[in-house]
Amino acid sequence: MATIVVHRKWEAVSPTRQRVMGLVELGSALIMLLVFTLKVQPGQMATFVMTPGGLTQGIAGNWVVPAFSTLMALTVVNFLLGMVQLVRGFGRWTNAVLGVVVAFFVFSFLTWATAGKSLNLLGMLSAAVLLAVPIILGAFSGVLCERAGVVNIAIEGMMLMAAMVGALVGSVTKNMWMGLLAAVASSVLLAWVHAVLSIKYKINQIISGTVINIFSTGMTSYLSSKFLQTYQELNNPPIFPRVPIPLLADIPILGPLFFNTNLFVYLVFLLLIILQVALFTTRWGLRLRSVGEHPKAADTLGINVFATRYMAVLLGGVVAGIGGAFFTLGSVGRFDEMMTAGKGFIGLAAMIFGNWTPLGAFFAGLLFGFTDSVATKLTILGTGIPIQFMAMAPYITTMVVLAGLVGRGQMPAADGTPYEKE
């Protein structure tokens, strides 16, 4: 079997893209130099608080860094990376390097904004982790579906529905686990509809996804204004508490960030490991990917294309359902209309940025969550940069990445194409 489903080699990054990326990265270094580094008074210190408020475990000392030299160092690193990218290129590491450059850019922005002040960096990062949870789960859902060859733009709709159902059932049963279960069930139901429409009836998968998005928007708003807003007790679910993991929670910095939060963050890690291992090292994963790459070949070898696709889409529904439940059961504890606010689509963006792999999607999701978190802090820091511009970053990044990627070998080959058995 392994001889048939050829593991596609990472093709060489095109020269144009290599140069464009190099120029973009050099541009970032230039902005860092002109806008940030040279605007800092020499001798100013930036204070980063490294423990989120209200925690007693995993305390770490504050980072006090000289603003100018830190900025200079980051600028130089970005400049060098940009030069290497322009001249030689990083091949398969191009996206990862781009991620590093963006991260350094953002960090230097923070250093500039914090110069002479103090910023709770870890509070910001832990907010970023929570903001990233639905994005990452949405991206995982997308990876599962698209690796099997089914495009899923309905993640947003599934998450919205799951958020509402989770809040409703959680409130009625006064049990967050029941809420989570119901949320996942509702999302799986929508995933099933998507699967039937796109696999059985072979209607265009974008249309099927659009149907589910319109339906979810309508249904959640309908039920919300009919019941949740009238009977407040129906919209007051218990939320999953913060559960510190013994020992790990005491690690400075990492502990507060990843090991002293709620169930959903742990689920993200669990799913990350399971999906990454299952997709790329098991027979199950190979079969799933083969269906997304070359369904006819897979069929010839006796893999049931339809069943595999159904399974992938339904599993995607489970993951999206968890992501949706996070909105109501994992963070705010109530449902508001349209509360997913495009997170499902950012998840789609994270999936693309992460090259249709769980690990890539994870880091892309973290990055996008981080930009979100920075955006909310912008007003407090008084930088004069509109938060909307930061909020646009994930979308623009995706478009830039996509411009160089699609059609050159990362996307599952049969993605979006219904399979016709002959």
Partner: protein, 427 residues
């Protein structure tokens, strides 16, 4: 050696294939109308029926009545549905009793109020026509413009800016100028994903989704910042547009029926002419139906993709401009109840033809308008979105309709709209 005329000319065969009308167009007369309308009509009916089920299931009074007895439950359920759909109907088309009474009373205002539902439905249908044409034009050229909503917002923003910032122009210049600015705003937002698709292969679905969100954030910033209304205290709302930029309404309040409706009809005619009567439209449809064959026939695919997305964006931008200049007269974030996404449903319902788009827009406009009357019965108007989604399912998958009603649906009708797949790219 074969004679030259015996050689099959692939290009010619292909062109005949493309230009050959689908089977359902070869059947003439009423039979043809019936065949074309069968699936959409059944889809709408099924959507409304399922909507009725939802209304019953979520009605407290029905549940209470069922607790009393089965009979009273059924009666209450029936009454609930009759009430709800009567409200929908009278809200969309008018209440005959009220109209008669209004004429008897002779009160001009009351007459206008009683007659208002139909013109108001047309007002509701107008943005749908523009947006639906935008989606249909995309479909016909093999492009999935899911970014109509964002293009609509950019069009609205551009029209608003020209509407309030330009002063001292006479109306017959200012209004068209603002409207064209709206078209331009949408066109730019359509051009970018079109260009990306043509030049880099970046799929237009992802790019237009991303452009949607960029447009939302951008307009949010514009309305709260550079374009904010003085004295609004940072609320995201624009100043009122100048009187000269307004698209005129024909009747005194409360009737809002306006010139925009006829502009929309004009656009529909223009799109029809463009698509079906010009060489360029032929190129466009060919690229949509079979890009490889179009390339073989020497058509410029890059140019066609960019042009199609730009024009589609321009139409979407007109939808936004229309709402600002004719109805809202200033811009706020609640500009659209999802016209851009609903228009995907109605373009499919209308089989991506301009006439079909107009008919489905009238239906959707009437539904939206009628739903406001249903609100009085504590039925949230979101029911319309649900019904629209259901209609979209049945139109997109006629096989479901065939199974439910055991009717024969011509195979060709199912494949009427070709939409390129996700991975199609421009390989």
């Amino acid at each position: 050696m074969s004679k030259p005329e015996n050689k099959p000319d692939v290009g010619k065969v292909f062109l005949e294939e493309v230009t050959r009308p689908p089977v359902n167009e070869r059947v003439r007369g009423w039979q043809r109308v019936g065949r074309v309308l069968l699936v959409p009509a059944l889809a709408v009916v099924t959507g409304l029926l399922l909507g009725a089920v939802l209304i019953i299931l979520t009605s407290e009074s029905v549940w209470e009545a069922f607790r009393v007895s089965l009979g009273s439950g059924l009666v209450t359920a029936w009454n609930t549905i009759v009430q709800a759909y009567t409200a929908l109907f009278t809200g969309a088309l008018g209440d005959p009793v009220r109209i008669v009474q209004a004429f008897q009373s002779g009160d001009a205002l009351e007459i206008r109020r009683a007659l208002n539902p139909i013109p108001e439905s047309l007002v509701n249908a107008t943005p749908y026509i523009f947006a639906g044409l935008a989606v249909a034009l995309g479909f016909r050229s093999g492009l999935f413009n899911i970014g109509v909503e964002g293009q609509l917002f950019m069009g609205a923003a551009a029209a608003t800016y020209v509407g309030y910032a330009v002063k001292g122009l006479p109306g017959f210049i200012h209004m068209p100028l603002a409207f064209l600015a709206g078209a331009l705003g949408g066109a730019v937002w359509g051009f970018i994903p079109g260009w990306l698709k043509a030049k880099t292969g970046g799929h237009e679905v992802i790019n237009t989704i991303m452009m949607n969100w960029i447009a939302f954030r951008l307009t949010e910033w514009l309305l709260g910042g550079p374009m904010t209304r003085p004295g609004s205290g940072g609320l995201p709302i624009s100043p009122m547009i100048e009187k000269t930029a307004e698209i005129p309404q024909f009747f005194p309040a409360p009737i809002r029926f306006h010139l925009g409706f006829f502009i929309a009809l004009g656009m529909a005619w223009l799109v029809h002419w463009l698509l079906f009567k010009t060489t360029w439209g032929f190129d466009l449809r060919t690229v949509g139906a079979n890009p490889n064959a179009a390339r073989y026939a020497g058509m410029n695919i890059t140019r066609n993709i960019i042009l199609a997305m730009t024009l589609s964006g321009a139409l979407a931008g007109m939808a936004g401009a229309n709402q600002i200049l004719a109805v809202n007269r200033s811009m706020a974030l609640g500009l659209s109840p999802g016209y851009g996404f609903d228009s995907i449903a109605l373009a499919l319902l209308g089989n991506s033809t301009p006439v079909g788009v107009i008919l489905s827009s009238l239906l959707f406009g009437a539904l939206r308008n009628g739903a406001t009357r249903m609100e009085l019965l504590r039925i949230p108007n979101d029911i319309v979105s649900i019904i629209q989604a259901l209609i979209l399912v049945f139109v997109a998958a006629p096989a479901i309709i065939r199974t439910i009603y055991r009717v024969k649906v011509p195979k060709e009708a199912e494949e009427a709209v070709f939409v390129g797949s996700w991975g199609g790219g421009n390989k």
